[in-house]
Amino acid sequence: MREAFLLFLVIFAGTGGELCISRAMKTAGEVTDFRPASLLRFVWRAMRVGWTWIGISMMAVAFFSLLGMLSIEAVSFVVPVTALSYAAGALGAAVFLRERVSAQRWLGVLIVCVGVTMVWLSKH
């Protein structure tokens, strides 16, 4: 039960954080100039977008939840089950970012879910 709760936090806080960062980056604009001064200006611009800070906070929650999971479960169990983030990512991209997710990508996500279920069952 505790593992399931921590996995929920890793997946949803991690994916939610990445989606917030992705949304912030799209608001901040595309990087076309890779000179240090331009990159610093881009980082400053990104830091002024609220979504960036929400994203960073959520990713911190995901990181500490991952550490919590690693303290009670094997690494060869924890890391593969976090692949469930592909499903959360596809769902979030479709709903939150309004991206068009292709049938092939949904098929890949389904295969990942089958693999995660197998890894989860291997615990017992």
């Binding site: 949304r23 799209k26 608001t27 595309e30 991952l66 550490l67 919590g68 690693l70 303290s71 009670i72 094997a74 690494v75 060869s76 169990f77 924890v78 890391v79 593969p80 692949a83 592909y86 596809a90 939150f96 970012l97 309004r98 991206e99 068009r100 997710v101 292709s102 092939q104 990508r105 098929l107 890949g108 996500v109 389904l110 295969i111 990942v112 879910c113 089958v114 693999g115 995660v116 279920t117 197998m118 890894v119 989860w120 069952l121 291997s122």
Partner: protein, 155 residues
């Protein structure tokens, strides 16, 4: 006359550089996770979830060398990932990185003595296959400006 061999050499060098970078990426991310796992195994899990207990655990986490080595490996992975994306396609790099799920099982066995049973090994193989299928789709399906406009329109 020397154009074709020069292009061929450049392409071959690019392939070699890409394979080397991918090998680094596929090793660093699992290594970081295994080091984090090793660090966390030495720290007692929270039982009461009382703030004082959580702060004590946080102190132990921040004073563990394995945790810092794990974070360093993850940061190095992130830099290597960004660097390889500067010349290779995301749709090529992302599925290649799926093999890190298999590497984490191997490193878990070698460094932590974890037993990977056949069902777990098969599950990891299926996950790798799924990630490869995801990676073979177009990396960008929307124009960034239009995507954000649509997202803002829908709240």
């Amino acid at each position: 006359m020397t154009g074709a061999p020069a292009n061929s050499n450049r392409a071959s060098g690019l392939h070699l550089r890409t394979y080397a970078a991918l090998a680094v990426i596929i090793t660093l991310a699992p290594l970081g996770n295994v080091l984090l796992g090793k660090g966390m195994k030495g720290i007692a899990a929270a039982t009461t979830w009382h703030p004082s207990e959580l702060f004590s655990i946080l102190g132990q986490i921040l004073s563990s060398p394995y945790i810092w080595l794990g974070i360093a490996a993850q940061l190095a992975f992130f830099v290597a990932y960004m660097v390889v994306l500067s010349w290779a396609d995301y749709s090529y790099v992302q599925p290649a990185c799926a093999f890190s799920y298999a590497v984490v099982a191997v490193l878990g066995y070698l460094m932590l003595g974890e037993i990977v049973n056949p069902l777990r090994a098969a599950g990891i193989a299926v996950i790798c296959l799924g990630v490869i299928v995801v990676g073979r789709t177009a990396p960008r399906t929307t124009d960034p400006i239009h995507a954000v406009e649509r997202a803002l329109e829908h709240g």
